[in-house]
């Protein structure tokens, strides 16, 4: 088929200023790993630097001119993506098969996702593959307290890579890991990764593999001591661990317990910054629905919920058991934006029920669940 009809996967690499996004790319994209990969870099400031750091792939790099990729300039992102695709179709660029979009550290991912999902031209040629967020272990506490972009980046992530872990005490790394896992339970948290694992982090599709692992039974026995050396037993209760490239495929939280135990709050004393007022609580919880859902009722309810409270819903991700449909559906939303719904071939485990992880700001689990229950009651009753 003509390359003009291809739909290319886009990996979004985000993370706060100085977290190590460009270092990640420079580390990974050598030789075969860089093959067939185009990179878009969005820089903040008059003079771009990052494209120089990944100079080996400079021939395929398009530098967005200026500023943050946000609502006001996402037209530039659209233009850059469209130009990239046109150059590929014309043969001006080699026929790359995947794209990495590195954002500025001040970007919030939602407008970028919106550009990929909502623009009719772009969505015909590109599909969001995964969002990888690099977290600076040294400055995470300050960045979280002072910059709301940090939280938006963490919430939107499919995978979280903790950088500069060698500069921080292992106990602090363990605390940060727990914090990240609590803030975004749907994301894989990796502390240190080999080059091969970093390649997987960037290019492995998020929806069909990571989702099944994390929202599945989570019963795999992990070599905790070996995987998380140097951490005390309390720290090792966390599911996130170190990637050693020795055959482990990924790490995930165990969702098989009581849903009540899955609620987490953002308050993490070890990372608190006392000179700033605490922002509104970020809550993550897993909403479980035992009976198969009525797809029509769910879409009515969820579109209403996102319309009114999308700004408070940082992330929703999970599996849906739909009445009359044997295959699980993957639902993935970032604020007001919902990705195209995918249907997996099979359930990852014996728990054939809907499980949705919500990351919200000021939106309680009880009110969300009660709201859906009321919609079910009102809309599923027979017409009169």
């Amino acid at each position: 088929m003509s390359p003009s009809y291809d739909v290319l996967p886009v990996t979004l690499v985000t993370g706060f200023l100085g977290s190590g996004k460009s270092t990640l790319l420079a580390d990974v994209l050598h030789g075969d790993a860089a093959k067939d990969t185009a990179i878009l870099i969005n820089e903040f400031g008059e003079v771009g630097l990052d494209h120089l750091l990944v100079g080996e792939v400079d021939a395929r790099t398009v530098l967005l001119d200026n500023g943050c990729v946000c609502c006001s300039i996402r037209g530039e992102l659209k233009e850059a993506l469209a130009t990239l695709f046109s150059q590929r179709a014309r043969g001006d660029l080699p026929p790359f098969s995947r794209v990495i979009l590195e954002t500025t550290g001040l970007a919030t991912p939602a407008p970028i996702v919106a550009t990929l999902l909502a623009d009719p031209v772009i969505r015909s040629h590109y599909a969001l593959n995964a969002t990888v967020t690099v977290v600076d272990a040294l400055n995470a506490a300050q960045q979280r307290a002072r910059h709301p972009e940090w939280l938006a980046q963490v919430s939107a992530a499919d995978r979280l890579l903790i950088s500069k872990s060698d500069l921080v005490d292992p106990t602090d790394i363990a605390a940060l890991t727990r914090t990240l896992a609590a803030l975004n339970p749907a994301a894989e948290v990796v502390v240190r990764a080999s080059a091969a694992d970093k390649v997987d982090m960037l290019f492995a599709p998020a929806s069909s593999t990571d989702m099944m692992r994390r929202l599945g039974s989570g019963q795999r026995a992990l070599g905790r001591g070996a995987a998380f050396p140097g951490f005390d037993s309390a720290a090792s209760t966390d599911r996130a661990t170190e990637s050693n490239g020795a055959g482990d495929e990924g790490w995930y939280r165990d969702w098989s317990g009581d849903p009540a135990s899955l609620a987490h709050r953002r308050a993490m004393p070890s990372l608190a910054v006392p000179d700033r007022p605490a922002p509104q609580d970020i809550v993550s919880f897993c909403m479980q629905i035992d009976e198969p859902i009525d797809w029509h009722v769910f879409t009515i309810w969820f579109t209403m919920l996102l319309n009114r409270h999308g700004d408070k819903i940082l992330r929703v991700k999970g599996l849906l058991s739909i009445a009359g449909c044997a295959q699980p559906a993957v639902l993935h939303a970032v604020q007001h934006l919902v990705h195209p719904v995918l249907h997996l071939d099979a359930w990852p485990d014996a728990q054939r029920r809907s499980r949705l992880v919500f990351i919200t700001e000021g939106l309680a689990r009880e009110s969300v669940e009660a709201s859906y229950a009321r919609f079910r009651q009102r809309l599923e009753e027979p017409d009169h």
Partner: protein, 124 residues
Amino acid sequence: MCGMCGLLGGGNHWSNTIPPGTGSNTRRQRLIHVALANRVLASFRLKLDDFHGQSFVLSSSTGTSELVGDFAQVWRIAEQMLGRSLDPLTLFAGDVATPPSSPPSGDRVDAITLHRFTDEQSTS
């Protein structure tokens, strides 16, 4: 959206996804969605209609009508028409909190039709 023909509607919106194996199709799903949305909108004296299978027309009791592309826009425009928010967290809060008597059917149109038929039988 094109206001003349409405054909550049929200066909790609996620809510238009048809779950495999449910036996539904685009038109059928659309009609069910409209019927359910009208259950929500009726109490606000708003009405939603399908438009060419691509868009919706949202109408108010005062004669205002607007072409909308997908359900994300339906609720936003409805709020604009009403001048107030439509909050699903408080909507139907006065209802008695009991689960529906039967599990959801994958075939809502048949369920609605069957119920009406049963009503006619009982009154005849």
